[in-house]
């Protein structure tokens, strides 16, 4: 049987990918060393210059306490990104536990976990998150827990499907036929191969978690002021939206830009890795 030889196009990174990388690099830098990007303190009050529109001195303008909004956005990156990463990590820990148990622990356990996941899946993730906050009260840790638990069921279902698919693979049987124990086979073959396509999904999840965390803060259910977490900034700016648009629009643009960038990188990664089951 002859095969068609199709020449492969040379992969030049797309403009969008490059821009996304720049945005993400900026946010990571802001989270790690905010002092490198801005001079002042995010909480430095200057009552002489409250609610000033964007200018060279204050690129994002100032808020009702005269705090520089750009400085606050840069300093808020650590919390926003931290919630995004933390929540995704938590979601995956839960999802890996549930997904692998469901796929490997036999029919009864599988049926039980799958039913629970279906019920959880029927709730919007944000609603699940609200439930966690209702129980624990708003804080940074609760935000992470809320968003993490809220997004776990979706990942758990994906992981279960991946494990079931990889379990059928020839190399799993081949490893068992060599005399490897079941635990070794899971650790060496099943886990890495089932999780590989989910790397991209996890990246997508970070962007989504940042948006959700912001939504919670906006509702006053996330991180409390004077924190400059991006959702909290939106919440604070809400009162002045008719007079000082920048307090609402500019942090909003930042959130959207970061979410789009992370998601776009996730997609690129997904295509490179050959795609995940969705």
């Amino acid at each position: 049987m002859s095969t068609l030889t199709v020449t492969r196009a040379v992969h030049l990174p797309k403009v969008g990918t490059v821009l996304s990388l720049l945005v993400v690099a900026f946010v990571v830098a802001a989270a790690l060393v905010p002092g490198l990007l801005v001079d002042g303190s995010p909480t430095a009050i200057d009552l002489k210059s409250t609610l000033e529109a964007p200018s060279w001195a204050h690129p994002f303008g100032t808020d009702d306490a005269g705090r520089d909004l750009f400085t606050r956005v840069v300093h808020g990156a650590r919390e926003s990104l931290g919630i995004g990463l933390g929540a995704t990590a938590l979601a995956f820990v839960i999802a890996i536990g549930l997904g692998f148990t469901a796929a490997l622990a036999g029919r009864v356990v599988d049926a039980a976990i799958t039913r629970v996941l279906e019920v959880a899946f029927a709730f919007p993730a944000l609603l699940l998150a609200l439930l966690v906050i209702a129980v624990r009260g708003p804080s940074l840790a609760t935000s992470i827990a809320a968003v993490g638990i809220g997004s776990a069921p979706g990942y758990a279902r994906m992981i279960r499907g991946q494990v079931l698919a990889v379990r059928q693979a020839g190399f799993i049987e081949a490893a068992a036929a060599l005399g490897h124990g079941w635990f070794t086979v899971i650790r060496r073959h099943l886990f890495p191969n089932a999780m590989r396509p989910l790397v991209a999904v996890a990246t997508l999840g970070v962007g989504q978690s940042i948006v959700w965390a912001s939504a919670l803060s906006f509702l006053g259910l996330g991180v409390a002021p004077p924190s400059s977490e991006w959702g909290a900034l939106l919440d604070a700016g809400r009162l002045h939206i008719t007079t000082s648009w920048w307090l609402e629009i500019l942090p909003g643009v930042v959130i959207v830009l970061v979410a789009i960038s992370v998601t776009s990188l996730g997609r690129t990664l997904q295509n490179r890795l050959g795609g995940a089951a969705r």
Binding site: S2, T3, T7, F171, A174, A177, G179, R196
Partner: protein, 556 residues
């Protein structure tokens, strides 16, 4: 099928006799900078079959696709001439191609499951070319589809026409595809590997069908990798290699008195009753090899009354393996041959103790094997190796060749004590199977099919097993590569005294490698004996039927 009224294209307008229907001169096809067909010329005549034979990458399928205007995106096609019954095909627009396909040229592909739309009824699929060429009305087309299905030997054509492709067996699907290709009775039929995925008995029926079509005056271009299939149908044979025709002539001459070394090598590589005990690969003369010693003491592997019952989704029990017993002695090869669904692979999996039998028992060196608990069996696994049909799927895609082999060494009788020792032994194993230490770092993805199977054999050998279960180990390989792998397996057996439980659907391969043979049908062993007994004095009617269905070079 003989009334003239039936026919959208009358025979009268066809050139008959020895004049040519299709003339191709200096055809070149390239994709980017790679030339896959490098200037080939041939002709096809009514009532004759031209076979284009070659291995993977020879350019034969691309040639076939070019003749129906489906070379694919990014292809550059050039030729001095491509004429079909006087009309120029080279400068045909896509629109005009649609008028030609089906009506002037029928195209049969290898994989009928992919080529037929899963969601449409078989009858609609068969009638598709009629509809495209505005033949008759809906009712007439439906009737014609049933008639066509009947003409290609599909039993109960009315029922089949209402079914969907996945409800039909491979053989029936292939026939439906042929029915669709000949629906408008095109003067030229191009068949690309039409029987490759089929069982021998079904293959024989499909070849007979094509032969009948040829008798009625159709010109057939048959694309195949299998010289013995070609022998049954072809009047002319063109052997392709790397995009060029290396030999072209009457079938009898090419198959029995080949002029080109490559054709000779291909022919010598075909395993059959004549090649037992000789090398298939290598040059010119076949070397008689010394017979290895078979130890007829206690069997290495023994199966006693194995039965496996599967419960289907319809809650009906199906006995897939039914009372199968065998003994495999040291240094011996036991072949299990059968068609798809005969239970041979299930038997192999039970022998490997990967699948549990419903009843019956497998003994390893006279000790319990299948009856052991998973934990107690695990330390014994090093004694039983396995080689699969598709080596690639049996390798973890993240692992390098080196890691695959050293991992297997670690499970063996003598696990390496250091990294250097593991590496040295892995290199030695790779050399033993005809690879080199340079392959250690490669990913199996970047190896050829033959090299992958060599890695799989190295992995099976690493724990120093006394038995290797080979499940269709050469079925996915080109003839010349198949020959090398079969030679490698026999060399290793001579050297190491390992026993093989060798599963194959290919009677030629089984005859070539086996000392004793089990013939399986519908889960039962219908015949059991030495290779000579089974092949020369078959007692069971099914064995005889199988043997007559096998395509042979002698029939050209």
């Amino acid at each position: 099928m003989t009334t003239v009224d039936d026919r959208p294209v009358g025979r009268a307008d066809r050139v008959s006799g020895t004049t040519e229907l299709l003339r191709v001169e200096n055809l070149r096809v390239s994709f980017g900078a790679t030339e896959v067909v490098g200037g080939i010329s041939f002709t096809a005549r009514p009532g004759q079959c031209l076979a284009i034979v070659g291995e993977s990458g020879s350019g034969k399928s691309v040639t076939a696709r070019t003749l129906v205007g489906l070379t694919g995106p990014g292809a550059r096609v050039s030729a001095d001439r491509i004429d079909l019954a006087g009309a120029d095909l080279l400068h045909t627009t896509e629109r005009a191609w649609r008028g030609l396909r089906g009506r002037q040229i029928g195209f049969v592909l290898q994989d009928a499951l992919v080529s037929l739309d899963q969601l449409r009824r078989v009858g609609d699929e068969v009638a598709e070319p009629l509809k495209l060429h505005r033949w008759g009305n809906r009712a007439a087309r439906a009737a014609k589809a049933v008639e066509l299905l009947a003409s290609v030997g599909v039993p109960e054509p009315e029922v089949r026409a209402q079914q969907r492709p996945y409800e039909l067996s491979g053989g029936l699907r292939q026939r439906a595809l042929i029915a669709s290709a000949i629906a408008l009775d095109p003067p030229l039929l191009i068949a690309d590997e039409p029987t490759t995925a089929l069982d021998v008995t079904v293959q024989a029926q499909v070849l007979d069908l094509l032969a009948a079509s040829k008798e009625r005056g159709t010109s057939i271009i048959l694309i195949s990798h299998d010289l013995s299939v070609v022998a049954r149908l072809a009047d002319e044979v063109a052997v392709m290699r790397d995009g060029h025709i290396v030999e072209h002539g009457p079938a009898g001459q090419v198959l029995h008195d080949p002029r080109h070394d490559y054709t000779r090598m291909l022919l010598a590589a075909i395993p059959s009753e004549h090649t037992r005990g000789t090398r298939l690969s290598g040059t010119a003369t076949t070397v008689q090899r010394a017979r290895r010693q078979v130890d007829r003491g206690r069997p290495v592997l023994e199966a006693r009354h194995l039965t496996k019952v599967f419960r289907g989704p319809d809650k009906v029990d199906r006995t897939v393996v039914d009372d199968v017993s065998f003994e495999l002695f040291g240094g011996e090869t036991l072949g299990i041959v059968g068609e798809s669904g005969s239970g041979k692979t299930t038997t192999a999996r039970i022998a490997l103790a990967i699948l549990e039998a419903t009843s019956g028992e497998v003994l390893l060196r006279g000790e319990p094997w299948s009856a052991l608990s998973t934990d107690r069996r695990r330390p014994l696994r090093k004694q039983v190796g396995v080689v699969y049909q598709d080596p690639l799927s049996s390798f973890d895609p993240r692992w390098s060749v080196g890691r695959i082999v050293t991992d297997a060494l670690a499970t063996g009788r003598r696990p390496p004590s250091s990294k250097t020792e593991a590496r040295d032994r892995a290199v030695r194993l790779l050399e033993q199977v005809g690879l080199t230490g340079a392959h250690l770092a490669s990913s199996p993805l970047r190896l050829s099919g033959g090299q992958r199977q060599r890695v799989a054999i190295a992995r099976a050998l690493a724990p120093e097993p006394s038995v290797i279960v080979c499940d269709e180990p050469v079925s996915a390989l080109d003839v010349s590569i198949q020959a090398q792998v079969l030679d490698l397996l026999t060399d290793l057996q001579d050297e190491l005294g390992v026993s093989y439980l060798f599963i194959s659907h290919d009677l030629g391969v089984i005859h070539h490698v086996s000392d004793r043979i089990l013939v399986m049908k519908d889960g039962r062993v219908v015949e059991h004996g030495t290779a000579t007994e089974v092949f020369e004095r078959p007692r069971h009617p099914y064995t005889r039927q199988l043997l007559t269905a096998v395509p042979r070079l002698g029939s050209a």
